[in-house]
Amino acid sequence: MSLREVLTPFTAWKHVLDAPVTIPDPIGREAAERYRGFHQNDMETCIGCGTCEAICQNGAIDMVPVEGQVTEKGDSGLRPMIDYGRCCWCALCVDVCMTGSLTMSNEYTWVDTDPDAFRFIPGLEEPWKDKEAGYRREGGRELSGTKRSHMGELAPALRGDNFSEICAGFTREEAILEADRCVECGLCVATCPAHMSIPDYIAAVRDQDYDRGLQLLYETNPFSEVCGRICTHKCETSCAALHEGDPIAIRWLKRHIIDNVPMERRLELVGGAKPANGHRVAIVGAGPGGLTAAYDLAREGCAVTVFEALAAPGGMMRYGIPEYRLPYDALDRDVAVIQAMGVEIRCNMRVGRDIALDDLKRDHDAVILAIGLQMGRGTRIPGSEGPGVEKAVDLLRRITAGEDVPVPERVVVIGGGNVAFDIARSMARLQKATHGTVGVTLTALEDRAHFLADAEELIEGAEEGVEIIDKRGPQEVMRDASGAVTGLRSWAVTSIFDDQGRFAPAYDQADERVHEGAMVIEAIGQMADVSLLGAELTEALDWNRGRIAIDAGFRTSEPWLFAVGDAVKGPDVINAVADGHRVAQSVMERVSLQEGIS
């Protein structure tokens, strides 16, 4: 113990004149740039998916309707409300936010006498609403994957000359990875015309419970083999994941489930129909709409007969969509389950030729028209009448039926929809197999960004050698002296839509080109062949701008007649399926009512 140790501590006094280190007025002190302060939410970017609520370990977030936010496709209209009595400012909600709309300001002082004020909806009028500084997650959305899982596909070199299916479907590993990315917000369900339980069946993939998955599929859709391959998958356009990455491959996951349940097991899981109820229903057309209605009605115990004009059931699914997108055996499996419910499908029975509509009316309690759009539209431009000009749907039908179709070395296709690509890519395959080279030119009015066809059609079509020329308006089919087709003359399209988004092409006549080809295929549109109705019924029915008028329950103005499918409504398989369910419901209401009367 030295004197030094007694005296040294007094050196502390040297600080007595130092300026204080404390901040005199800490109110208003700016927090650090990335401070996790009060929340901000960009109301326009937010889609109300509720993933913030799902991850909040404090249960601090409620999803609530907010004035001015509309419930619409891809946006629930709900917005997060945060209870600051529970929030711990961990910012997991910000990290997981699917759109990046939810952030945090670096504001951290808030005084209020009303405790309910601290239960607040960020993005309205809070003072820090537009503050730039504050926590932003680094590196984008890390907590759920943004990249779509890989799926095997036939390489262009291996598929160019054959009709083998291109997509291999997910392996289990790939499917689990993809299913894992889903955040189960359910925004897609509203967009799906059939309102399939998408998040639930994706969860079944994650859990590797394919039985449960299959049952969920069949609750809303008897065409999962088909839809798992060629659905227009609009659901994927309202997927929360697409805002900062790839949308979930919902369509492929659906296919993955069906791929993993063998046929016998499907029948077991779907179960049998109810006992016969004595009602008879006739359905004209074995397309997706008709067969879905048939499936539902048969399960309810009705005796259902489907009259199909062509040699095999499926409608456009078989005769429109090429085999490389939808193999016939896949379609057959879907149809087989429907037939297993007791549905009788009578093929080669064209109503109006092989059997009269009146006979159907007489022998059944109800008739459903599900005739689709089987007739192709033509451009009727000069030169379009006569040999060498074909309709896409006719050619596709002939290819499916196994007929020989002419395969010139050069072909021009008019149209930019999926049908145009179906025929272009089918012809490319036939050319490759016949001539060893591909010579297909596809011209469309639209620019590439607005093609009606799916994006992958453009990619895959180009891979297979289809020359895609956008923004061309067909003017004339050129013919030589002998009358043989030599090409298509077209003008450049300068604009295609008016300010209301309606079709109104304008042309630059100075930019004229001739697309060489010995065949011109028109794939611009389709229409229903309503001749089977006969003059009397046509006159008796109500019509709505060219289509049979129906109510919300798909009832026509004739009480015994219902109509469903592309001919009256939706443009694709999944819409036809959805409508098939609804028409079946209406038919059941009608037959039950009859029962009540008799």
């Binding site: 009015l445 794939a523 049979i548």
Partner: protein
């Protein structure tokens, strides 16, 4: 070649002549569509009915104009014959669309007529001296332009559909 047709080929015409052709043009169109209504299948009847209605409005407009003293006063004036007049005059003769024409055929015919009318009235509006007749031609030019655009949209909606 008849005298009348010779006169048409000269580049001057009296207002009366032009006026009468136009009146006839609209009247024939209305009559044509009206007659077509029962002959087309019910599923496309809506289209023909809409076309007939449009034309009727124009016929009524010409009827009103003919009773206008201001119009009567300029009837004998000579004005430049429009370049489009030949095409326009031809439309006074109605085509044979066959038995039970389909919607696309009706639309294509209607589009051709609207196109001719639009060009005719646009030129007339330019060459007619100021007055109620010029106003009427301007109105018609404007009407037919809108009408043609609308028909084109309908055409594409009907024909270019269902293909996805």
């Amino acid at each position: 070649m008849s005298e009348a047709n010779k006169a048409k080929l000269s580049n001057k015409a009296s207002v009366r002549e032009i006026f009468e052709t136009a009146t006839e043009f609209e009247r024939v169109a209305h009559a044509f569509y009206s007659a077509l209504i029962p002959n087309v299948s019910k599923n496309i009847r809506w289209l023909v009915e809409e076309l007939a209605e449009e034309e009727l409005e124009h016929v009524e407009l010409f009827t009103k104009l003919s009773q206008d003293p201001g119009v009567e006063a300029v009837m004998s004036a000579e004005i430049a014959r429009p370049v489009a007049d030949g095409r326009f005059s031809d439309c006074v003769h109605t085509p044979d669309l066959g038995i039970d024409p389909d919607d696309q055929a009706v639309l294509q015919y209607a589009l051709m007529r609207e196109s001719a009318a639009m060009d005719q009235y646009t030129e007339l509006a330019e060459s007619t001296p100021p007055g109620p007749l010029k106003d009427a031609f301007m109105f018609l030019a404007n009407e037919e332009t809108k009408h043609k655009a609308e028909l084109e949209k309908i055409y594409y909606e009907i024909v270019h559909s269902g293909g996805v």
